[in-house]
């Protein structure tokens, strides 16, 4: 099963069309039409994966970035299945220890997401995947491209709310599955729960709390405007129960900022802040 899942179950770049080694790249990803939705966090994942390909190839497939930091993620809308993401990344630093990058995703020329000040610690590729297989995948991406729509379904990790102070805070548990197709791709030799999936669920919870705080009616639209200071401190492994905590700090009438924290066994494994904007209908 793992062989079939690698390079498919959690891969969000179909083709690299332009590459300046160690410096920048342009690529694309078609959101499969058979998916029900495509979270913006996975758009960020696609940009991060393109940056990863640039850094991995620059370091001869010996190192790869895993998790890390995302200083600022700006959301400019949403995307729908069937759309084509035009991805672009620019690397600052790219060495044995770290890759620093920023990037963007556009749909039909319109900016949908921008990543700024991201840093990925570079770790030994051998620990996560077979270097030669990764080299082969990279050649596919730079050549004919990978087959589109190779992901069958998006992971939906289960979240249970266990404590709630309406409009103020929320505590929930995310149960990471023991096994899932995406672990065969992220990563074949060492399964790690993707930080972007964690963030997607955390943002969803923050929007719920903001909706309560805003006393938003059914005509109100609430959506994340930005996520700042994302920091993945430790890997989350299959089967772990992750405590998610959202604390809201009202700023003004239309924007709410929430502190997000994730813990495993009491240890903080991830932190971030999200700004949720409200757009009340007239």
């Amino acid at each position: 099963m793992l062989v079939a899942e690698r390079f498919s179950a959690f891969s969000f770049v179909d083709r690299i069309t332009t590459l300046e080694p160690g410096s920048s790249a342009v690529g694309r990803y078609t959101i499969p039409v058979h998916l029900q939705r495509f979270p913006m966090c996975l758009v960020a994942e696609a940009i991060g994966q393109l940056a990863a390909w640039v850094s991995i190839s620059h370091l001869g497939f010996r190192r790869r970035p895993v998790a890390g930091l995302a200083g600022e993620t700006l959301f400019f809308g949403s995307v729908t299945p069937g759309q084509v993401l035009d991805l672009a990344v620019e690397l600052g630093t790219c060495d044995e220890d770290a890759v620093a990058y920023g990037g963007s995703a556009r749909v039909d020329g319109g900016l949908v997401l921008e990543l700024r000040h991201c840093v990925g610690p570079m770790l030994a590729m051998e620990e996560f995947d077979a270097p030669e297989a990764v080299r082969g995948d990279f050649e596919t991406l730079c050549g004919p491209g990978a087959p589109a729509a190779r992901i069958r379904a998006l992971p939906q990790p289960e979240v249970t709310v266990i404590e709630r102070v309406p409009g103020r805070s929320l505590v929930a548990t995310l149960q990471v599955p023991e096994s899932a197709p995406f672990f065969g791709d992220h990563f074949p030799r060492r399964p790690v729960f993707p930080g972007t999936l964690l963030l997607d669920r955390q943002i969803e919870l923050a929007v719920q709390v903001a909706r309560e705080a805003a006393h938003a009616g059914p005509d109100a639209t609430l959506a994340p405007a930005s996520v700042t200071d994302v920091k993945m401190r430790s890997f989350i492994a299959p089967g772990q129960a992750v405590e998610l905590r959202v604390e809201l700090q009202p700023q003004d009438a239309t924007t709410f900022t929430a502190a997000l924290a994730a813990r495993v066994g009491g240890k903080k494994v991830a932190t971030a802040r999200v700004a949720v904007a409200t757009q009340t209908g007239s």
Binding site: G68, T93, D97, P121, K231
Partner: protein, 142 residues
Amino acid sequence: MAEKEITTEEIAAVYPKVAQIIADALGVDVEVVTLDVPLIEGLDAESIDFLDLVFRLERGFGVKIPRGQIVEHARGDLSETEFEQKGLVTEVGLKRLREFLSEVPADRFQSPMKSVDIPRLFTPETFCKVVVRGQRAAQVAG
């Protein structure tokens, strides 16, 4: 490798901004950041925080700080084997480290000291000095 001593005035000039950057990186109030607090024991910093901190300082001060520069600079003209053997800092290396991290109280240098434990010595002042060195290097380069 003789280095012109970093003065308290140079440190004071960069400290307020360094303290704010440390507070932002660690998600703590700037009031709890003092010049001599150990970042790992005192403020729960982890290795990912040091990576974060280095990039934030680079952006904040417009200087270049290669990763691992602190230990590299501490080593100076000593070879790797003179500085460290089998994961432990040598006596010569420890002497060099004490001189280099002169802001750190003497009783915090254990002997033997594992080289992976060197970051346990780092304080905000250590990073002020990193910034000052970066600024000096930028002046020389530019």
